[in-house]
């Protein structure tokens, strides 16, 4: 057995891994211990990360350099903690309002561009590309069918999510086709999700294998 300091730490990590995995049999004190430990350690890590990499360079250093305007965002930040006071919690609304105002103003434009304008542009672009390819004699049957499916699928999918009109008649038909598309999309997501979850366990097996080899090989 190779009992170096590094291997002892790895053994601690392996034990932590096995304690957490014990939950698969049933909830038990080992799992609870690991769960609560990681919550505390993560919180401690994050606290120091905020202080060392964010608070110090963004606030303390400019103040030390004589840029005293930064007292204002500092004070605004401290005002956030009035949330915990029953009588003075309204004080926290001011910094929250600043953050919300700036964040939503920014998001209004960038999200509109990225999620709506560009996506609609790309959808219309499919039709334009089909037309151009057809004119150039480069449009294959499969490409044409695929492009039509995508166009119809997007329109029908949007029709499904439009709840201000009753899903009846031709509109109901479009919404029905929309749900078919959505089901295929969710199926694809599920397939990928299975892969994602399994790969997390695979990495743990690789880690435990590596630990075993280091300790005993």
């Amino acid at each position: 057995m190779n009992l170096t300091a590094e291997n002892l730490w790895l053994t601690a990590a392996a034990l932590a891994t096995l304690c957490t995995m014990s939950f698969l049999y049933k909830d038990n004190p080992f799992y609870k211990f690991a769960e609560h430990l990681v919550v505390g350690v993560s919180a401690g890590y994050f606290t120091m990360l905020l202080i060392v990499t964010s608070l110090w360079p963004k606030l303390v250093d400019p103040l030390r350099d004589g840029n005293y305007w930064y007292i204002i965002p500092g004070l605004l930040g401290i005002m956030m903690y009035f949330r915990f006071s029953k009588s003075q919690s309204w004080v926290a609304r001011y910094p929250i309002a600043i953050y919300i105002g700036i964040g939503t103003g920014l998001s209004l434009v960038v999200e509109f561009q990225a999620r709506i304008i560009e996506q609609l542009n790309a959808t219309i672009g499919i039709a334009a590309t089909m037309k151009a390819d057809s004119a150039a004699g480069a449009l294959t049957t499969l490409d044409a069918i695929n492009s039509l499916i995508i166009l119809l699928g997007i329109v029908c999918g949007l029709a499904y999510f439009y709840f201000s009109k009753e899903h009846k008649g031709w509109f109901g038909g479009a919404a029905s086709m929309g749900i078919w598309m959505l089901m295929v999309g969710f199926g694809a997501s599920f397939g990928y999700t299975v892969m994602a979850r399994i790969s997390l366990f695979i990495q743990r097996v690789q880690f435990l294998g590596d630990w075993w080899q280091r300790l005993f090989a």
């Binding site: 120091m48 105002g101 366990f201």
Partner: protein, 212 residues
């Protein structure tokens, strides 16, 4: 003014931030830099709210001897230990080494990483169990979902000469119907985000103010 002034602030700042995206002048760029700079600093303090809540809840549980209060000691001990390791490295080796001290890094590597990674790896088992128990071909739509999922899962499976057509089928599912479905969802979500942003800026949505 306890509710009015924040609403005015949200409106003014929201409109200005939306407009400066369209104004290619230096003052607009400077204002945006200033706004982002200050907001990030405020945000640093906001992140601390969660940590303070955790400390309060854990201390409360310990003082009242509630069920499993002993584990709250473990939580607070872990938090205190990480802070102590980092502060010790800061004092002895400077701010630049506060996040890379021996005990701090080893606790990160050998406590935080394995437990977090393993907790999420448990999902592999739960999804296998869920696939067995709940993934039923109850209706035509459910069968369609099931078929799409199985084809995409088979993309990873090497089945010799059957693999190329399965890969083509899986590629088609992902690049055609999945694309259509996800784009419809994306546009819908985008419209929702824009509508909510407008409601917040105009003061229609006020949940962030909390109660009086």
């Amino acid at each position: 003014m306890k509710r009015q002034f924040p609403l005015i602030l949200v409106f003014v700042l929201g409109v200005i931030m939306a407009l400066v995206e369209f104004i290619p002048l230096d003052w607009a760029k400077d204002f945006k830099e200033f706004a982002l700079d200050w907001t990030i600093i405020i945000g640093v303090f906001a992140m601390g709210l969660g940590i303070w809540s955790l400390i309060r809840v854990s201390a409360d549980r310990i003082s009242r001897r509630q069920e499993n209060w002993g584990y709250s000691i473990v939580t607070l001990a872990g938090l205190a230990a990480m802070m102590a390791f980092s502060i010790y490295s800061w004092i002895t080796a400077g701010l630049e080494n506060a996040m890379s001290g021996y005990m701090f890094e080893h606790f990160f590597d050998h406590v935080m990483v394995p437990i977090q990674a393993t907790m999420f790896s448990l999902l592999a088992f739960f999804i296998a169990s869920a696939a067995y128990r709940a993934f039923r071909a109850r209706s035509l739509l459910a069968s369609l979902l099931l078929l799409a999922a199985v084809v995409v899962m088979l993309r990873v499976v090497y089945l010799g000469p059957i693999s190329p057509p399965i890969n083509v089928a899986a590629d088609w599912i992902i690049n055609v119907p999945n694309l259509a479905a996800k784009r419809a969802i994306l546009i819908g979500v985008g419209l929702g985000i824009v509508a909510t942003a407008l409601k917040v800026i105009l003061g229609i949505e006020r949940a962030y103010l909390g109660r009086d």
